[in-house]
Symmetry: D3
Subunit: 306 residues, 6 copies
């Protein structure tokens, strides 16, 4: 069992809010890093107390270069000051959809290379949440303990708490339908899938949706929403197929560019998602649940917290 004093919990700047929630769940203090930015743009970081012999927990989404880089700095800093172990939680992993290099493109598969940077910083344990592809889990030589945590239970709980009656889960493409089926079976509700095809880098077209949605509320589920293009198309297909209302749900709410505006203008009644992507909070459009309980559960087991 691990003593309260044996843990230090920090975060990169972007994930501070989420980390505070995790600390509260675990009934442990959160430690804010000391940060000073110099005139030349360089940033000074110091741990707010002695790390030596502590089990260091670092929570950090890597949705931009600065956050990714700060995560690397924190892992290395923890090793430098002789932490007993360095345990990393990555709520949202940047570049996770770029994990494959297409043949003859000479493109850099940053999903793999960036995750490898994290592994090379020598953490003892790394947890990811609802990964787009598990290939990144293996981008090391077997020396890193990794864990892929799924939000299934949180998602089920969230949907049940919404008070929807008579709903069906819809996957925007066949690739994601296995996970939607898994969640539907936990909710004991029907599910179906649209047929998305990617025609160009940013253009997709979504095919017809099965009539199983007719007269029901459709909840379109995906792992992440970036520009929202295909999920909004899928929502429209659901309405065309007779759905009476459409909500969408995704773990990672990137909501890039004008996505928010597009959702506001769309027939979608609400966007349910988690707080893995920094800055997501509930408002009239977004309905956000926290992954803090999930992270707390993983850490409790891994660090043998009581």
């Amino acid at each position: 069992m691990t003593d309260k004093d044996d843990i230090m919990m920090v975060a990169n700047e972007a994930s501070t809010e989420l980390a505070r929630k995790v600390a509260a769940e675990l009934n442990r203090p959160f430690s804010e890093m000391t940060r000073n930015r110099f005139a030349d743009g360089e940033c000074y970081h110091a741990f707010p107390g002695d790390v030596t012999g502590k089990k260091l927990v670092i929570i950090g989404s890597t949705h931009d270069d600065v956050s990714h880089q700060e995560l690397l700095d924190l892992v290395q800093g923890g090793r430098y000051w002789n932490a007993a172990s360095v345990n990393v939680v990555i709520p949202y992993l940047g570049y996770s959809t770029m994990e494959r290099a297409k043949p003859n493109t000479n493109e850099i598969p940053k999903g793999v290379t960036r995750t490898r940077q994290i592994f090379r910083a020598r953490p003892d344990f790394v947890t990811f949440i609802d990964l787009h592809s598990e290939a990144v889990l293996h981008a090391h030589a077997g020396e890193i303990n990794t864990f892929h945590a799924w939000t299934d239970h949180l998602v089920v709980e969230k949907i049940m708490s919404c008070g929807f009656s008579d709903f069906v889960l819809v996957s925007p493409d066949y690739g994601f339908s296995k996970r939607v089926a898994r969640i539907a079976s936990m909710l004991r509700c029907p599910h179906t899938a649209a047929d998305k095809d990617r025609y160009d880098v940013d253009k997709t077209i979504v095919g017809q949706v099965s009539s199983v949605v007719r007269g029901k509320m459709a909840i379109v589920c995906d792992d992440m929403i970036r520009t929202g293009g295909s999920i909004i198309q899928t929502a429209r297909r659901c309405l065309e197929a007779g759905a009476v209302e459409v909500a969408v749900m995704a773990t990672h709410l990137v909501i890039a560019g004008t996505a928010r505006e597009k959702f506001a203008e769309s027939p979608i009644s609400r966007v349910i998602g988690s707080d893995t992507y920094p800055g997501r909070i509930s408002d009239e459009l977004f309905d956000i649940y926290s992954v803090a309980p999930l992270i707390a559960r993983v850490l409790r087991k891994q660090l043998k917290l009581t």
Copy 2:
């Protein structure tokens, strides 16, 4: 001997200009990376041609997170596509003055940790220019070939080309005086040092300068200029000690915040420096020489170019 076709030379975005000059010096083509930025801020990179079996040269200063990160991406991309070797040139190394962690501060010595990230990306060879501290050269387990290139010859050539008569080199503190002495001996000119003391994180005070500068042009030399504070103070001390004119010279022109304005208002006649820091070009204040010939010389030897 290495064939012309066996080399591919690329750069991170910030160092593209300098890399083009190096390519010209070596009479080899420069290859611009394909870069696409997506709506969510992620950046797609692809090599413009097949890297397999090529000796890849990557030139990249790491003065900000984005540039540092792009350098890591390029090194890993080169390995991913089976380059014969990956050779890195870092004209300006970010965080190079943060290479020591003060006792009991729990601060992260980013000079060391960031350089280690570069080494961990598995380049075959890494060259640095005029390092603030050589500690970073050793931040690996002996598996990386490194080289510390000095600008001494370029500096001497540059000063001689300026046509100054009767000048003396001045070091702003004792720490840098050894290098100033080395350059002065190549120039066969006198040299002296001021006594700088650092009182606080950003505050230094520069002591008296020896009378050897009286009636002469003083060239205050340092490895880098950030805010310019102490070098401008040293310049004033030189004038107080009777210097007739003061120029300053440094390899790395960071020129952070309002530094440019401070120089413009100072009695300093010109600021001589190199193009290691991205964006530095000659104008009415700055007199910039390029390190391209030095980099070319290092690469010619390392890659056995004819």
Copy 3:
């Protein structure tokens, strides 16, 4: 350029036939390993000549424990006797469909762990052909040069040589439809996909096939055929949808258990596939093309053979 005498090409026992063809393509000798089996079942291996300083090429499918193990032995043997480089070609990778561990199953993802064994044997270069999942490519710390070779050109050539007129390519599920589309575009023929769902470990059910196959020859394409269950189902769906003839095509012909009998009894006119899986030869049912030209092309480039 690499001298003829600088190469030594060997194979594990199972891939000897294929390796001989590769050697013929490259106009290089094939070297048969010396093998002696002792009374206790242990097998003695010796290279038939001096490996020191040679670029060793090892061709070996890993479809069973003995062949996988022999490949590891050969790689390590090459390193032991100081080969200049050890280059591995894995025509068929065993366990490649077991690359993911399902949550909470505690199952061993052998696709990853077995491939990692190969990487840990310290080859310099490893080529795979038509991988079921690319996740295995990354199961190292970045120290291995890997290459994923696709049979696309061979497949196109093969189909064109069959003299079919008016055919359509069919994918048995949506997961594989991208690759089928790619090949169809090279062949300038239409393509469609059935909708396969996996209900249990060994049971799948294939949905309706689009009417695009009506009146045409359907070629059902997949990466591998194991028991043949779903591909035969897909063939039947094609006939139900009006196809006039059905052939199937897959790179890796595992043809496990009673699969051959099932194909013989099915309405499928022929089974086209490659010789990646050891023992596959053309007969009244199977129409086998060799991947030797593809392997030769990869080696020619990697080893800089003329």
Copy 4:
């Protein structure tokens, strides 16, 4: 001290019986792996419960490719699922007599290369029993904790329990005589050695045995019995030299090919040995003792079990 619940003990299929005995000795449950063999010959493995944070013990002899491979799979599986430590016991190590490559043979020294495969799977601790050569212990870079356990105490106990009176230990060659002397001194009995010479790969000739065996029971001791050739020859020499009865004793009873028949036809009264080699059980010829108490003792110390 390690809690009961903190241990999980598994085995490869071949060593299941022995592992059950070890578990009984330690008063800990044995966990049988879930194994499913698919039509294509591939084998699915899953741990029967959650491994995370447990000290995993894996017992596995590596007498054939399948068992060796399964051991590798289990070690890697334990790491994959984040075992706190992975502790391996190898009762019988395959290829242990092939630990040297003769000059100019280009043979693969599999004793070394196979053991290295085990080390590369990243166990924390590996125990071997009565190794033929200790060279394999060092086939890593110093990162593996190894232990060479000797059966001396078990052997002494076994012989004493046989109720022999007036016996002498005989080594079949000079190489093994040191160990025989060590055991003889523990038993306070005389010992001698025959002079074995190896003339060809499978042919040896055993010289005269000293008259110290006259009128006594001779127990010929070796580390392993494979075909039994030389140990049976030695037994005959003992009778020629006047021994009144001959038994043989060896830790590892490989008993390859027709060895059992040869022993049955020989004048040897019984074959004493351990259960390190899978499948060895007592019958009218073999008198088997278990190494389970020895393994239990090693694990008790290493895992700090009470």
Copy 5:
């Protein structure tokens, strides 16, 4: 918390005296290695008891090849016998002033290479005391826990115990003046620096000392005294500047060649220093304090001793 029985504390021969003091501070037994020297000069080493599962502490200065080599042997021996952790304390690090290779000299920077040898022996933790340069701390790939312990508190205590009244600390050069300032601020006494210049490998000249020493006792402080040349010169400058008495103080008393004689003949009243360099004991000239309390403090924290 660590049990008494879980620790084993040993030393290389040269640091045995100091290690005994550390053991006494920690109230733990010291274990003397078994050493036998053979006729051919080789030395046999054995731990005096079972190391398995123990936290091994090894104390060893590396002032000559034999001591350095013995330290490596002990670290590797501890790993070989499966110590739970290997914790190294290096009171005096040899070659610590040779940590930089001057450009174009092709000299071997042994400060770095020798420390890397220690890191490569795979200790878990290494503590250094008052390093000449911290560059050596980083000469690994991030896999070693290091700690740089400073004697500041011991130095302050020592000076205060000397009963000096009205003293000033003097640094012999500007490089060391920061540390002198730090200690002076702890002692609330004035401090100043002489200006040392190194003209040749063994020749330095020390400039004037500030008049702040007039009428006071001057304590010239440095990190180490080798030949004593520049510290004696500085002492003379202090007297020339009006100091009434001069003592010198350094952590590491190398006292090479005729240094002792030079000090005896100098006007220096006493030489205060620690016992990091083997063999230093108090006498009429040297006033030695022990670093044992500092080492004990570091170990108490690192090993969680009560």
Copy 6:
């Protein structure tokens, strides 16, 4: 093929003579390291020219701590200055007879640990000559190219050049008799073995020698001579068995303590051996041949010298 200018050949101080001979054999210059010893005993090393891009050859016996340590320094220096490859020749390996740790002794097996230090210094290639045990060859993780060179051809040539008529080779124990048999078969002469038993650390007793030596010259052969005890005993047994003259022959002439005197007083007519052990030269007792031609042959092949 390797150019003359691409090689730099150096040696540790002890093996300088032998290295000069190797250089002469290869018709390449030998480069003497620059060495300066400082007052504190530390030794400065510099390569006499630029190592960058050169294939560095380092010849160094490791018979004492200083020589072993210098070898490590040279390997690391070569890596530091970016040699293209570092190739090590170890004519005599110190501690090679201490490659096993006896059970329960807690002794450090320095044969293994010291060799591992050499491998950890990251040479590309290491050659050993006539190793006492090959276990040290494997003391790495498979990343080092090693080669075990045997002097057999040199030995045969040497004996033939001595002009002996009617001689027999004698092994002092059974362990070494295989190698003696190998050499005898090359010489087409008879051979036999005495029976050595080691009773205590330094005491051995040699049994009777076969009558095959009667009337002949006996040449007692061993891999090394340390104190000479058992080889002199064997010589006496040969004379007792009727030999008319006795010479001894060994690769490594350690000749420790009073061994020379003992040989001078013994009936042995001459001691034939090689120059692997530093300092061995021919005189009235010793008849020394050089291993330079053997080393040259190995290097010629490994470095592809013409």
